[in-house]
């Protein structure tokens, strides 16, 4: 079933302040008397701290405070594993570990004070090789790993922070009897979210309470982190997010808010921290993880996938952060949206002394999908079938069984495939230096608690008060569309109060493509409560039966008798308190018998999955290995699309990010695990002149378990299959896949002129 709701152009309510330059981002805020913060980072990626001497730094004129681990509560924090302190104490485990923080009269004085901090180290061997770190006898990144507070489901062991498997049937037996078996190995480099706004934090205490303005995607998580690490009540911490200059996941999680709050308390002044671009690259415990991906598939000659084995190793870096779930997520993506008779995929999330990895737009998915989709094309080649035909036969559909036994409901996987093929003109004659590659992928919807209030103002307008977070996607900006529909009002009649933990109910923040999915549900429920109150008031006013009333065009009227009506303005201006609240029931992923799987974290089945097919037409310069994407087709089942302009914008942006990950974006580490390219000149984002023509089609399947109006997520899926589609196009031109991501000109050229193995 497809749905085509009426759509109107939608101008985002925060648009005017953004195009006039009058909107305030965190770095634009200043408080009278503020001091400026700078951090002292680790001088070695792996070293024992022998002594920290801050005397010279403290003595520098203009320095107000210098803090180390000795100045804050000695508590560990982290997502699924509490393995980190605000300030490194016994050891530094990566170049971005914060050893000390300075607040001074100017940022220049603070930087000079940082240079005066003396740290004596016992330098240790760096452990950047995340695969070697799981071998028996490997040096431990965290000697005390066993004693950490952690989620029991992770299956931890020494340097292995998480181990998950997806297992179904007898993969070994089925592999032995398969007609065709294909094995592949791929290696992906790390990459970055790289928002254009470097992060900034401003903190000010009022008595025992602190207000923190922060460029975070997750203000409630930031509040919890501050309360936990500084050992103060959550109610004493207020986190406000001014306009946020992009995040892409990299501004998820609690990061530096507590450091700045601690400095502000110590200096008895407001303190402001603004990251340089270099810091934005290396200092956050957040980047897309490097991976080693080994896949093996057994198939019949008519394209049935009888067995999938896989072994994935992920670089967690030095600390857990919020990325503890990555092993299971990666394992699901190594299965992909395909019918597999038997499965045994194992994934290991390993500590190293590299920058920690955490969520970046669809964590683990683009690079795993890139490997799987190139592997699928190799399977197709081995059985002598067009790779598109193999996908037609193998993609999941209603009634199909997922990797761990989930039975799928209505989903549009095959529809996205056909739509992408049609848009790109698959099968057309192409010049000899051009090819079309196709890749499919998926991403789950995430159910989460979320809340909203809707109140009517005396002038008949409404205000939505929400804990949800707007990172630029437009998801929060779209909430008025939902409230307006329930109340028979116009979207522009609503203002939104958001990004203030003292105002809105708890929300998980701008992460997981779930703002509309969860907060939309809350807003609709809150608006319905307002609707009930309006019906009560109007029934009394009109002396009518409330069941006979409807809300249309800003008034409550008797159905079939439009003349008998009262406007919402008239009902609201009486001063009556008209307020609704909502959270709604959180949908859960379907139950499956995944008893054969280990490291189960709840992703062995996917709630209301989003399906994607991307197709890329590329041109290769054989002399240099330079690949240019000429045309791109993106077909998505994200359920019903509520805000078409916003949804299209996610695809345009996500595809461009995916092209970057495919061809140019990588964080290169030196042998010690230090970033060699923490800047925009050497870490190459795609520019406007790199961009191809991008065609988009939405497959609006009404999926059970979907969110408001049948919507699913939109933000992350567009970057999932992009590198795979480009990779498959390159492989067609050079006879096999480039097995390293990104597929830089050098790597394409080397693959053309070598054996291509990694």
């Amino acid at each position: 079933m497809t749905i085509a709701p009426e759509r109107k152009p939608f101008i985002r309510p925060d648009g005017k302040e953004k195009v006039t330059g009058l909107g305030r981002y965190t770095a634009d805020l200043n408080l009278t008397g503020q001091a400026f913060a700078r951090f002292k980072y680790a001088d070695h990626p792996h070293a024992r701290i022998v002594r920290i001497d801050t005397a010279a730094a403290r003595a520098l004129p203009g320095v107000f405070a210098v803090l180390t681990h000795a100045d804050v509560p000695d508590v560990l924090y982290g997502g699924m594993v509490e393995d980190r302190r605000l300030f490194a104490k016994e050891k530094v485990r990566w170049e971005g570990d914060v050893v000390a923080a300075v607040a001074a009269r100017t940022a220049e004085i603070a930087a000079e004070a940082v240079r005066l901090i003396e740290v004596e180290y016992e330098v240790l061997e760096p452990l950047p090789d995340f695969a070697a770190n799981m071998e028996p006898g490997a040096t431990l990144v965290h000697e005390a790993w066993e004693g950490y507070e952690a989620d029991d489901s992770l299956d931890r062991n020494q340097n292995i922070l998480g181990h998950s498997s997806i297992v179904k049937g007898d993969a070994d037996g089925a592999m032995e009897s398969a007609e065709v078996v294909v094995k592949s190995r791929f290696v992906s480099d790390a990459s970055q979210g790289a928002p254009i706004e470097p992060r900034a934090i401003l903190a000010q205490w009022q008595g025992d309470r602190v207000t923190i303005w922060s460029s975070t995607q997750v203000p409630f998580a930031a509040r919890s982190g501050v309360a936990h690490t500084l050992q103060i009540p959550e109610s004493h911490v207020r986190v406000i997010v001014p306009l946020l200059g992009g995040g892409f996941g990299s501004k998820c999680d609690f990061h530096f808010e507590a450091h700045v709050a601690a400095l502000a308390r110590a200096t008895r002044r407001p303190v402001k921290l603004v990251f340089s671009r270099q810091e934005e690259f290396f200092a956050p415990d957040h980047r897309r993880e490097g991976m080693i991906i080994e896949l093996e598939t057994g198939a019949t000659r008519d394209g049935r996938l009888v067995s999938r084995r896989g072994r994935l190793i992920l670089d967690k870096g030095a600390y857990c952060g919020e990325g503890g779930f990555f092993a299971q997520m990666a394992a699901m993506h190594a299965c992909g949206p395909y019918k597999l008779d038997n499965v045994n995929v194992e994934a290991f999330l390993n500590y190293s002394t590299n920058q920690p990895s955490s969520s970046v737009r669809a964590p683990t998915a683009p690079q795993t999908c890139w490997a799987l989709e190139q592997h699928m094309d190799e399977v197709a080649m081995a059985i002598g079938m067009d790779p598109v035909e193999l996908r037609r036969r193998a993609l999941i559909e209603e009634g199909a069984e997922g990797p761990a036994g989930q039975i799928f409901d209505r989903i549009g996987a095959k529809e996205t495939l056909e739509a992408a093929l049609e848009m790109i003109g698959y099968g057309q004659e192409l010049p000899e230096d051009e090819a079309i590659g196709v890749a499919c992928g998926w991403w789950p919807s995430f159910g989460s608690q979320s809340g909203a209030y809707v109140k009517l103002n005396g002038d008949g307008t409404g205000t939505i008060i929400t804990g949800a977070m707007e990172s630029g996607t437009g998801a929060v900006m779209g909430l008025p569309l939902l409230a307006a529909e329930v109340l028979g009002m116009k979207p522009e009649d609503f203002s939104i109060l958001y990004q203030d933990t003292d105002a809105g109910p708890w929300d998980m923040g701008s992460s997981g493509s779930q703002t509309t999915f969860n907060n939309g549900r809350a807003v609709i429920e809150a608006a319905r409560e307002v609707r009930e109150k309006l019906l009560d008031l109007a029934a009394a006013e009109l002396e009518a039966n409330r069941d006979d009333l409807e809300l249309v065009d800003g008034e409550v009227r008797v159905k079939g008798s439009p003349g008998t009506s009262v406007t919402i303005v008239d009902l609201a201006e009486t001063g009556e308190t008209i307020i609704g609240k909502g959270s709604g029931d959180v949908p859960e992923a379907p139950e499956v018998d995944a008893s054969a799987c280990v490291g189960r974290l709840g992703m062995e089945s996917f709630l209301a999955p989003q399906l994607i097919t991307h197709a890329a037409r590329i041109k290769l310069d054989r002399a240099t290995g330079v690949v240019r994407v000429l045309e791109f087709a993106a077909a998505h089942d994200s359920g019903v699309i509520i805000n078409r302009m916003g949804a299209d914008g996610q695809v345009y942006g996500g595809v461009m990010m995916g092209i970057g990950q495919a061809l140019s974006e990588a964080t290169w580490f030196d042998d010690d695990g230090r970033q060699r390219n923490p800047g925009l000149l050497d870490y190459k984002l795609q520019t406007v002149s790199d961009g191809p023509k991008i065609d988009i089609r939405w497959i609006e399947i009404d999926t059970p378990g979907a969110g408001p109006k049948g919507s699913k997520g939109v933000g992350e899926p567009p970057s999932v299959p992009t590198p795979g589609a480009i990779g498959n196009a390159i492989a067609k031109l050079i006879g096999g896949p480039v097995r390293r991501l990104p597929m830089t000109p050098e790597r394409v050229w080397e693959t053309m002129n070598g054996d291509g193995e990694v």
């Binding site: 330059g21 800047g679 925009l680």
Partner: protein, 157 residues
Amino acid sequence: MTYSITLNVNGVEYPLEVDAHASLLNTVRDQVGLTGSKEGCDDSECGACMMLIDGRPVNSCSYLAVQANGSQVTTVEGLTNTDDLAPLQEAFLVEGGVQCGFCTPGMLISATALLESNPDPTSDEVRIGLSGNLCRCTGYDGIVKAVLKVAEARSGN
């Protein structure tokens, strides 16, 4: 050592005392108090700080305030002097050229300069003209459409 300079920013004269090493960007943000221009890299790589100096687009993070002494500086705040948006600002919103908005001020300045020097650009010329401005959200699609739309409307007049 500080220098006395005068900057004319968006039509208003500001007599200022600046350090020799102060960038135009920091001076306009911190001393003039106009924060629309953003610092994304401090290295002329992202274009978020773009301003017009006597009509010419520059990365103000890498331009000394003393170099701009006596110049006419235009920032994003100067693109309209009324409550009405300039055509490019309006088109950016209508065409989906704005998401997080952090690159938008620099992008609008570059687009303004582009249309001044080339009132009727092709799509490729728009893409080349804006290639010094990075955007991570929009994939540039709405931005290019917006610039072409304004150019078309102007040439139609």
